[in-house]
Amino acid sequence: MLRRSLLASIIGTLLNLWAAEVTPIDKDSLRFAVIGDTGTGDRASTEIANQLAKVRTTFPFEFAVMLGDNIYGNEKPRDFERKFERPFKLLIDAGVKFYAALGNHDDRNQRFYKLFNMNGQRYYTFQPRAGVRFFALDSNYMDRDQLDWLERELKASGSEWKICFFHHPIYSSGERHGPSVQLAALIEPLFVKYSVDVVLSGHEHIYERIKPQKGIYYFIVGSSAKLRAGGILKTGITAKGFDTDRAFMVMELSKDQIYFHTLARSGQVVDSGLLMRRK
């Protein structure tokens, strides 16, 4: 009897999660989507894009950040069309802005592509709203100029919320690549020193939420088109992992809180939660 009731409870919870409608907590909050390693143009990427458009009907986000590997393979005009503009047409037509970071599969000249909003820069910053600043980094090539720029921008930001995004994760349980240790050694001290709140990366074709590291929330969202099934190793740093289907995130910043939902391409919510901003 007890076993049956437990089973019913689990099934009920699962069904609730499956059917959960993602809605904002605060109507005045800043909302955005997070996608990574999307540039295949295949069925999975289209299904993720369609699911994003569907979620946007109940969770209206203003823009999406792209975590690199935005266009795999050739980069002729027809590739931009087939691997980005066609799958994401519903969102582009709805006026959603995309802000891209460069991955190791991306031509550096993508920085001039108008729909990626990089303004001709390998690394850049934007402020979608007062008090919130995003920093897009080029983790393929972390040279002295970029490091100096990052420190300068973080120091001068004055924003309450600081969110960094780039391709190579510095914390990862991914079996394919693992953490970028050298990159971590250079940029993590800056994140800590200047109170970065959230760090978003791709590269590893999984979803992973890392247990907070030195007060910073790290996410890997590298499975928005490609997937490495079973690609999460047991490392002890995983707060939540999902490696059985493609995934994307939507986030909401409201005052000192950040709400996040991670969805599979089926629409199933696979992770969600509330995080507090660092003081």
Binding site: N104, N109, Y113, K114, Y141, V181, Q182, A184, A185, Q213
Partner: protein, 183 residues
Amino acid sequence: MPSSGISILVVGIFLAADVKKPILKEFTTRINEYVKLRDRAGQGLAPLKREATPEQILEHTEALAMRLQKIRSHARQGDVLGPETQAYIRDIVRSETKGKQGKPAKEAVAQGNPKVETPAQPVPVKVNARYPAAAPVSTMPPALLLRLPDLPKDLEYHFVGRDLVLLDTAARIIVDYIPNVVP
């Protein structure tokens, strides 16, 4: 990742980063000559807008690449990365990638390395060759990058297999290379 490991690495990397790089006269002279050539190649080409279409990006990249290939049609390996520079870079790469301590750097070099990731199009390691858009670029280990001589805008070091190539990213042209630089 154990944080103590990171701390040790941080100290090591910052020490490396703080070391003043010697001024390589040969390197500076030759790189500046290349930049002048590239400026000449770009004369008359409309600059790429910051909000370009894929067609404009392709057209610009192709045009610049063709002009550079023409202007540098007699260029040979070692013209830009001369003997002194090659020896200097070889020493740095060897010290950054050897032994147990060099493992993270070696792993980083393998990430995106077209010889490891087997792209649809192989990358020909030749002076003036086009770097195929379909091929990924290797991730440069940051600690190594901080020790290599600084480059002007739109020039980058990358690895193709064990070779180090000097890539003009605006034209996707291999400007020069050093063979078998990774031990």
